[in-house]
């Protein structure tokens, strides 16, 4: 059933531009899709390793800026008369560079902050995002600061038989985002169903026991951070070449919050969770806008929803639906499908 449903979902998404000619709705889906990619990457950290990263937007923004700057080229003064310059690079290469740069940032942050965890990690991640925003705002020679990077070139792809295609406008970008989302999903799924994924989940469930069987905490937390950061960077790069203008607001904390809400609502630690949560919170603003709701009210609604979900649906939608489904299949006396708390260990 699961496989058939996923296939039907993908067919629906692939065929959507063929029967949906509302370009504004496509735009909404494109933006939602980009956020879903970011949310999926966040879920790897938040859901599978259990580390609450509140600086995730930093990697998204770094990806957006890195890809834009590489494709536009730049020249900066480093020291005295020494300058560093980069000629404009093709967009596909810029996007690859963005992935690598975001991944490297993830590596550094992981190495620094996993010495300590829990509350410290959360605060470090918030601080990191804020520092990147201030750098984007103040390093005007590189980033244009609040004036924003404009006229970012679009991605060109080559397909055999068709030739060169510009990824510009709604339909091509829709398919690009869809492809990136499927790619992200596959990468995360492969990780989760491997020994690396089991090690990450084991650290979330019971860290002392995990280390006792030889799992290196830092290694797997850093691996999760690097992959997560690189994928968020990819999402940022796609975003930059879609909207073609990037300013320091891409680092706003509220975007991290949006990603966290998507993951928590859908179900952290499930593969489908961020997709479900992402679709809900990607489309909800448009619904609210339809009711003439101003943005402040929308955010108030988000905040209240987040509190209500933590109180009443702490596991998220996907696990709740799955549990309900299982209860229908094998009542009576179905066992609890998920433990409320993991067995704890303190040596």
């Amino acid at each position: 059933m699961n496989r058939a449903a996923s296939l039907a979902f993908v067919v629906l998404l692939v065929s959507l531009p063929l029967w949906m000619d509302n370009l504004y709705f496509l735009h909404v889906l494109i933006v939602a899709g980009i956020f879903i990619v970011a949310a999926m990457s966040l879920n790897l950290l938040l859901g599978f390793t259990g580390q609450l990263s509140l600086g995730h937007v930093a990697f998204f923004g770094i990806g957006a800026y890195a890809s834009s700057l590489c494709s536009l080229g730049f020249e900066i003064h480093v020291w005295g008369d020494t300058t560093v310059s980069l000629a404009p690079k093709p967009v596909w290469l810029s996007m690859l560079i963005a992935i690598v740069v975001a991944g490297l940032c993830g590596y550094m942050i992981g190495k620094i902050s996993f010495k300590v965890r829990g509350a410290y990690f959360v605060i470090v991640s918030v601080s990191f995002a804020e520092v990147t925003r201030l750098v984007a705002l103040n390093w005007i020679e590189l980033t244009q600061g609040p004036m924003a990077l404009n006229n970012i070139p679009v991605l060109k792809l080559w397909a055999p038989g068709i030739g060169s295609i510009d990824i510009i406008g709604k339909v091509p970008n829709y398919y690009l985002v869809l492809a990136v989302a499927i790619f992200t999903y596959v990468i995360i799924r492969r990780l989760v169903y491997s020994q690396a994924g089991r090690a990450m989940i084991a650290l979330r469930e019971n860290e002392p026991l995990a280390t006792s069987v030889g799992i290196d905490v830092t290694r797997f937390l850093v691996l999760a951070t690097v992959v997560s950061a690189a994928l968020a960077g990819l999402a940022g790069a796609v975003y930059a070449h879609y909207v073609r203008i990037v300013d320091p607001d891409v680092f706003l904390f509220i975007y991290t919050v949006t990603m966290v809400i998507m993951v928590v609502t859908g179900g952290k630690g499930t593969l489908a969770g961020p997709i479900v949560g992402g679709l809900i919170f990607g489309i909800l603003p448009e619904v609210l806008r339809g009711f003439q709701v101003i943005p402040e009210v929308q955010w108030v609604v988000y905040g209240v929803l987040m509190i209500l979900i933590v109180y009443f649906l702490p596991e998220g939608i996907v696990p709740a639906v799955r549990a309900a489904w299982r209860r229908r299949l094998d009542r009576p006396g179905a066992p609890p499908t998920r433990p409320a708390v993991a067995a704890e260990a303190k040596p």
Partner: protein, 284 residues
């Protein structure tokens, strides 16, 4: 069915347990020398020296607070020793992290029940097999066929461990849904999956009923038959006397006796400090 098979021989010495005691001149596996552990002003372990020989089952006994668990934590890297040396097969373990110590083949269980509660029994064992996995992160993300082969191999190994422990019928169940006795078996399964050459068991039989304890003693026999050296902390004297080749008795952080079970039972100091009423009661 599986449970019936193993509990049919309650309390009887497990096959291959005490009967195949290793030669007294077997090489030393673990050497603990002058180990002291202090928390602030409190001394948990003082100047502890003992050796575990290859292939033997050595029990650490002593009243609560004698420093047994502290010594365990120091050996496995969960606690920093204040002074002393811990050497396993010629390698010093002091200052290593728990996962590095596990890589040297020294694996422990925990006193308080400790499993990966949200995972299935099979997944618990798969996590335990971590050291046997050959999966590079890049290969995983590229979806190389070697990963699928490795997963198949790990699953076979996991089923083998489950069969050894007798939990194969529970493979698909979530760990937290297991009854207590099986939960404690699962802990040993996870530790065994990590391929220990020295297995440290911290009160594995605590809270078990006599039938479960008997099954556990039989399991210990199967474990040592695979050549695993065992260091055991346990309060159940019937079990300690039944499975141990040698017993080290601690009191207030110091070793007061070291010898085979028969000698320990006769040792006046041990009887005074610890065994006395408890052992008499167990015998009665």
């Amino acid at each position: 069915m599986r449970a019936a098979a193993s509990t049919s021989t309650p309390a009887a010495p497990a096959p291959g347990a005490a009967s195949v005691a290793p030669a007294a001149d077997a090489p030393v596996a673990l050497a603990v020398t002058g180990l002291s552990i202090r928390f602030g002003g409190l001394t948990a372990v003082q100047d502890m020296t003992f050796e575990v020989r290859e292939g033997e089952v050595l029990s650490l006994i002593g009243p609560n607070g004698a420093g047994k668990t502290s010594a365990f934590n120091a050996i496995t890297g969960y606690l920093q020793a204040s002074s002393g040396e811990i050497v396993y097969r010629g390698v010093s373990l002091r200052g290593l992290k728990p996962n590095q110590i596990a890589a040297h083949g020294v694996v422990r269980t925990f006193q308080k029940t400790s499993v990966f509660g949200g995972l299935t029994v099979l997944d618990n064992v798969l996590v335990g097999l971590h050291r046997r996995a050959r999966q590079h992160p890049l290969a995983i993300m590229l979806g190389l066929p070697s990963i699928r082969r490795d997963e198949v191999r790990l699953r076979e190994a996991a089923w083998e461990v489950l069969r050894l422990i007798g939990l194969e019928a529970r493979a698909g169940e979530t760990a937290v849904s297991l009854p207590y006795g099986e939960l404690r078996l699962l802990e040993v399964a996870v530790a065994l999956a990590a391929e220990p050459t020295l297995l440290l068991l911290d009160e594995p039989a605590a809270g078990m009923n006599p039938a479960e304890t008997g099954a556990f003693m039989a399991l210990l026999g199967r474990i040592r038959a695979r050549g695993v050296t065992v260091l055991l902390v346990e309060h159940d004297m019937k079990m300690v006397m039944g499975v141990s080749d040698r017993i080290v008795c601690l009191n207030q952080g110091r070793i007061i006796a070291d010898g085979p079970p028969a000698a320990i039972q006769r040792d006046p100091q041990v009887i005074r400090a610890y065994l006395g009423e408890r052992y008499v009661r167990a015998q009665g």
